[in-house]
Subunit: 290 residues, 2 copies
């Protein structure tokens, strides 16, 4: 595995790889890997000639009150694990390397962003759009892999690629889960023993919502209400949101006769835990983003 630190070198390598007709798979990350990240890399490894992963904690997507400085970092472990996952190039640019000057161009998205997690992070996805535009031009991937755990981010990347005609295929990778169903997350370590036991109810409640759709319940309010009741019953943490929206448009829905996302977020003492499922009109989980 080669470690690349400059934009210029990474882009020259990518151009060279394209000239050699190599298919490039790309996994953009902010590092601090867990099994979810590694599964993205493994899937990219299977489907491409070359796999490039980047670790870049992007200041542009952190709000003024969000803790960019304290975002967890562990480059040694990440580097080792990327190598073990069979990554060919690990791109590790500095902030100065990615943003040598003030960006003159602002990107902004009105739709898909002011719901779910985006609701409490104004401007967050604008920063995501800018950094991914830059990274896509530097890495020149044929395919890019994002985890459906962050389903809203996948919806935003889908809009970016489609709106701007990027010659890139977006692959949404199903959420990696613990044996009991809890979605893997760097934040799970912040749960105490009791909370860890409760947290499984996040997924269990969403699956109950799925069962309602399968059973023919069409009214999103009823489904959200039942999910909410289950969570209140089993979880000590405070519910941040439970939402059922169209997917990937993330608009309010009047019924479940379409692709929808059912998503929830809970504040525990030391961690906010999120999860979601994406369903088609029959209530079947869509394991692959289309």
């Amino acid at each position: 595995m080669q470690i690349i630190r400059t934009v210029k070198e990474m882009q020259l390598i990518s151009i060279q790889l394209k000239n050699e007709q190599k298919q490039i798979g790309y996994v953009a990350t902010m590092g601090y890997f867990h099994e979810g990240h590694l599964n993205l890399m493994k899937q990219a490894r299977k489907e491409n000639d070359i796999v490039i992963t980047s670790i870049f904690v992007n200041p542009l997507q952190f709000g003024p009150n969000e803790d960019f400085e304290k975002y967890p970092r562990n480059k040694e472990k990440d580097t080792r694990e990327a190598e073990e996952a069979g990554i060919d190039y690990l791109f590790l640019p500095s902030v100065d390397e990615m943003y040598p000057d003030k960006q003159l161009i602002k990107m902004h998205m009105e739709r898909r962003v002011n719901v779910l997690c985006g609701n409490s992070r104004p401007g967050h996805f604008d920063g995501v759009l800018t950094v991914l535009t830059k990274l896509f031009h530097i890495v020149l991937p044929d395919k890019t892999y994002f985890g459906l755990k962050d389903a809203q981010q996948v919806a935003v990347v889908e809009a970016l690629i489609r709106d701007h005609n990027f010659p890139i295929k977006l692959i949404g990778v199903p959420t990696t889960r613990e044996a009991d169903g809890l979605a893997k997350s760097s934040r799970n370590v912040f749960l105490n023993e009791q909370e860890r036991k409760e947290a499984v109810w996040l997924y269990k409640s969403l699956l109950h919502g799925q069962q309602l759709v399968v059973d023919g319940v069409k009214n999103p309010d009823i489904i959200v209400k039942e999910v909410h009741e289950l969570l209140r019953e089993h979880v000590s943490g405070k519910v941040d949101y439970i939402e059922m929206l169209s997917y990937p448009d993330l608009l309010p829905v009047l019924d479940t006769n379409q692709n929808i996302i059912l998503a929830a977020a809970i504040y525990f003492e030391e961690a906010r835990i999120i999860d979601n499922i994406i369903l088609n009109a029959k209530g079947q989980i869509k394991s692959q983003f289309e």
Copy 2:
């Protein structure tokens, strides 16, 4: 010359050309060609394996009070001239082909846009940024050619390519002029006989400004004032603006010890005529954008 009308086909051709390691030169236009456009194509022809030209009148860069519908079009003549200029692929997408859905992402630039011609066209360059981002992803050029007659547009494209790390080299092509120095423009035909004679003073006045820089005048206000006086003396049309700014940042300057643009626009009866020169600190015309 092949005429391509769909985004998908054009992008597949571009990807195939890149796989064959062809160097692609690209000239984006809104059609209604004059000699300036053809010179861009000729230069691209000299410097690349493949030359792609697009004609697309982009509704996104026209304001609500600007006349998108009445923008002059002449596809038969343009097609013939593109073929004569040795273009390999002429990309002619429809508006629906370029914008099948409402764009979810807005691009916006604060700097470089609210001066010169951008001053009277709020939002114009935001639309330019979006369409060029799309076209660059569809055509996948190695080099893209823009005329320095529209020096502000070149400055905006320079920011787009640099901000977003596009793997594209921007070539600014010197303004094509009539024998007497008037910059070529589709709008020159709207000048009456008297105005056509006067219009040469646009360039002559700018060259006088250049001479002042060469002579060591450092104060932009003095230069702009003398250019203004010359224009008032020789031209019946109304001066829209005369500005001296840094280039390509297009910021106000206190002196001429840097790369600067000296630009002017005049309203004649039926046409607004613009021209500019770009000078280094010694007052030498920069014939190539760097």
